[in-house]
């Protein structure tokens, strides 16, 4: 289990990505991550778990265990899965309040954004928001 803080995990990803000096390498790494992402249970692949706002389908669920929130997700597109994998890597297994406070600025720092289309970037924002919504629910506050 990952015991690092969110910030440390973000730094780790930034470091991983710094190894690639062209977008191709970054994409290849994302694809690799995407392929490895443990897939979500089929029963969650329906509308109620779908993240709206992506061109590919994304299903995402979260469960609380011992006060920590654990995410599972899947997508029908591999690059999307790779991106989700990063997000889960950073956020999963943290306290809801920490998740809510995460600024997720590694997304800018990995230098992928200039090669992620705004369309994907929007999808990414949609995913982050969706993940934070779970955190909000479990932190006992209301979604308005």
């Amino acid at each position: 289990m990952n015991t690092k803080s969110i910030k440390e995990r973000e730094d780790q990803i930034v470091e991983d990505f710094s190894l690639f000096d062209d977008w191709m390498g970054k994409y290849e790494y994302l694809i690799e991550l995407g392929k490895k992402l443990p897939v979500i249970d089929e029963k969650y692949k329906n509308e109620s778990y779908e993240v709206k706002g992506c061109q590919s389908k994304v299903w995402l669920n979260a469960e609380m265990k011992d006060g920590l929130l654990h995410y599972k997700a899947d997508s029908d597109a591999v690059i999307t899965k790779g991106i989700i994998s990063l997000l889960i890597n950073v956020l999963s297994g943290n306290k809801p309040d920490d998740i809510l406070n995460a600024d997720m600025d590694f997304i800018n720092r990995i230098g992928l954004k200039e090669h992620l289309s705004p369309n994907r970037a929007n999808g990414l924002t949609a995913m982050v928001n969706y993940m934070k919504k779970f955190a909000l629910t479990y932190s006992g506050q209301n979604v308005n």
């Binding site: 977008w23 994409y27 694809i31 690059i79 090669h115 994907r120």
Partner: protein
């Protein structure tokens, strides 16, 4: 200047490309390869300059004005209408209405003509391959009227199943609207035959010519269609303008669609007399610049010649088909015998969105998704989307080679 690469006997593509400033761009460090022409085409300098010229020399509101600028703008506006008339070979400029685009044109027909033609229990026929813009307006009309919307089925090659079509027609059929060329499949539909069949039952036919306008010679007289709509922006012209052709007898009988300035002959507090054709359907200040510049787009196409454009584009399609075959593992959606330079495909095992993303990083602009034909892709073909490369007259076989290289790379990355 690079050495001209001849694509066809007649069109010198390298020279032609110089007329398209945007094509000189680099995208993500690579030269831009623009294969999203079915969504919107790029514009030649003659079109871009026509905008500037309009605004710098004659910009003024049209009709009714008596000062010189207004007269000049009116003349240019009506001159472009005449070009559009000749472009589609209509009988009279009374049959040419300037609209915002294909969608606006079809909505006008569905609302004004559809409303007076279709009643409760009646039937309207479209096809499974219609663009949303030629589907949702009819869904709405039928819902409002309690009429039934029927879909001509599409076979595995992406062709309309004509026998099924014939057997769908009955005395309740009041209107048929079909796409001339499918924006997703590239299929050129046998619209003349459809119109003949429909007319033998006295059923009027609307033709969605959005994709046909840049690729084929349109001839409303030969087709004998009742209505036809297309957009300027897909035929090297400006955004925000389209042409609606309607037979004069229909347009005469139809109520106006929008109300306001220009479309009236006289207004009083109690009653209003509508203007003559085509002004009855042009409420408010028109897209004057758009309409005038659309004339420059017509000139551009006619100068190149429809046949030359067709030949040039067919070579591109053939080249792409050959390369795709060679690469292997690429499924082409839409393999009609009669098709234009649109090629929808899936790299098997790779999501279209992933394919599109990598191609974009290689400087190659393609479209991915449903291409506004969601029922066709999702329900008919059971696919999550396709990648679509659509070629225009300025594209080259060299650019298709780059696409092929990209696809090979993608296969390596994902599979």
């Amino acid at each position: 200047m690079e050495a001209p690469v001849k694509n066809t006997e007649l069109i010198d593509t390298a020279k032609l490309r110089e007329e398209f400033p945007i094509l000189r761009q680099k995208l993500n460090g690579k030269p831009l390869v623009y294969f999203d022409n079915a969504a919107t085409s790029q514009k030649p300098l003659s079109v871009i300059n026509a905008v500037t010229e309009y605004y710098e020399t004659i910009n003024s509101n049209v009709h009714r004005g008596i000062h010189t600028l207004s007269e000049k703008a009116t003349e240019a506006y009506e001159n472009s209408r005449e070009k559009a008339r000749s472009f589609v070979n209509a009988e009279s400029t009374n049959e040419i209405v300037f609209v915002k685009g294909t969608t606006d044109g079809i909505n006008l027909i569905a609302s004004s003509f559809g409303n007076m033609t279709v009643g409760e229990g009646d039937e309207v026929i479209i096809s499974e391959m219609e663009h949303h813009s030629n589907m949702v307006p009819w869904q709405n009309l039928c819902r409002q009227k309690n009429a039934e919307l029927k879909y001509i089925p599409v076979n595995d090659d992406g062709e309309l199943m004509m026998d099924e079509f014939r057997s769908m027609i009955n005395e309740k059929t009041k209107l048929i609207s079909v796409v001339y060329i499918s924006n997703t499949l590239g299929t050129v539909n046998p619209v003349k035959e459809i119109i003949e069949i429909a007319h033998s039952h006295n059923i009027p036919v609307v033709i969605d010519a959005a994709q046909a306008a840049p690729h084929l010679k349109l001839d409303v007289k030969d087709l004998d269609c009742d209505f036809m709509a297309f957009s300027g922006h897909k035929m090297y012209g400006p955004t925000g303008i389209g042409i609606l052709y309607g037979k004069e007898k229909h347009l005469e009988a139809m109520p106006p669609y929008q109300f306001g300035g220009e479309m009236i002959k006289s207004v009083s507090f109690d009653k209003t007399e509508f203007n003559i054709l085509p002004y009855k359907f042009e409420a408010g200040t028109p897209n004057i610049s758009g309409a005038i510049v659309q004339g420059a787009a017509v000139d551009f196409i006619e100068k190149l010649g429809h046949e030359n454009i067709h030949n040039s584009e067919m070579k591109l399609l053939e080249h792409a088909n050959n390369l795709f075959e060679e690469i292997g593992g690429i499924r082409i959606i839409g393999t009609a015998k009669n098709k234009t330079s649109v090629i929808s495909f899936i790299v098997e095992g790779v999501h279209p969105y992933d394919t599109g993303s990598i191609l974009d990083n290689l400087g190659i602009a393609v479209r991915t998704g449903f291409h506004c034909t969601q029922p066709l892709i999702e329900q008919r073909y059971k696919l999550p989307g396709t990648v679509r490369a659509s070629f225009a007259v300025y594209n080259t076989t060299g650019e298709i080679d780059l696409l092929a290289d990209g696809l090979k790379k993608i296969k390596k990355m994902f599979l």
